[in-house]
Chain length 210, copies 2
């Protein structure tokens, strides 16, 4: 496969910090596209470089390996999810029902926007090194912990009738994540409508009395 | 990679119909294992044959292509799911709440047993030909239709307070499918306990009054 000229032809990317971030982003987007279409094991750095419109060596300048790209994609989307959940909690009424509705909405909205990252995150956890997998699982545990905490507060305050909170957290987080799989932009419902309906379903799931 | 001797060394598999089914099964299991670990695009018929302990030509005797193996895996598990849901409905009380609990239990149980097939089914739908994909989606629509029908009956009979049945079906089927992703044999809960808790969650989700 012929590689195209690097974007920084004739100039070391190391001298262009402003364009470095842009170059990293181009490689990341190319890797995401390739992993989503062909899978991690079916993708080479050469494929990624070709999709990014750069030479293989330019792609390697930005990321040391295909594995580093996968790790970055999975860490970034999970960190963004955690930030979105925390912002939603902070902006919502302190009442547990309002808190749960807010984090479910935020979770669903992110999954209507980051469909490919969610797909790669679910299908390629197997492809991370043990160390990278542990770091991604640690971040996912933080996502679950936010739901656990809100549900625990609802139970403690007598507002949620939820005898099995661990399964309620699993059910809610997985049904929200799966939105990335079936949602189609321009479909029957706008993202906010899906988010509102899922928030209502989650409140029922935890037996919210209010 | 050196291929090992075929299991039917010296004998044409075509002369051994009893062992044909066994041979097909060995190739299917090897393909499932390879697709789950390396992805469809990262797997060759050579890999599958090596895992199956047969020559590449013996593997091709049973299945004309890697794509045919993927299609067979996805069709078989989805047909088995439909059969399990129909059997569960037939064995349960006719009341919509009992019907929904029965199909949720059956759905969850199958996903605690067929974890790899579920994973490959979700991660490799992209890798099927347009025609095979349509046939698998058609079978999945049959799964959804069973849930839709039970929820419609519950609404018609005034037993379910479920204003958005389409989203309820999506939420229930995806949370049940996701059990394949987190369930670990020998973990905190036995499959039947997970199935019972999920059935209770699904009844809440549809606003079952009984």
């Amino acid at each position: 496969m012929a590689s195209r000229a690097p974007r920084h032809a004739g100039t070391s990317p190391a001298n262009m910090p402003g364009e470095d971030a842009g170059g990293r982003r181009v490689v990341l987007m190319a890797a995401l596209e390739a992993f989503a279409e062909q899978g991690f094991h079916g993708t080479s750095m050469r494929d990624i470089a070709a999709r990014a419109g750069m030479s293989v060596s330019a792609a390697y300048y930005y990321f040391p390996s295909k594995a580093a790209l996968l790790q970055r994609i999975m860490v970034d989307v999970t960190r963004d999810l955690i930030a979105a959940l925390e912002a939603a909690r902070a902006a919502a009424d302190q009442q547990p029902g309002a808190q749960l509705a807010a984090i479910v909405r935020a979770h669903v909205l992110l999954h209507t926007e980051r469909q490919r990252e969610s797909f790669v995150g679910n299908s390629e956890l197997r492809s991370l090194s043990a160390r990278d997998r542990a770091s991604v699982i640690g971040l996912r545990d933080q996502v679950s912990a936010i739901f656990k905490q809100v549900i625990a507060e609802g139970r403690d305050q007598g507002q949620f009738d939820c005898p099995h909170p661990a399964e309620a957290v699993l059910a809610i987080t997985t049904m929200c994540t799966a939105v990335a799989g079936w949602y189609r932009p321009g479909g029957r419902l706008a993202p906010h409508a899906v988010a509102d309906r899922y928030a209502a379903l989650a409140l029922r799931l935890v037996g919210c009395r209010t």
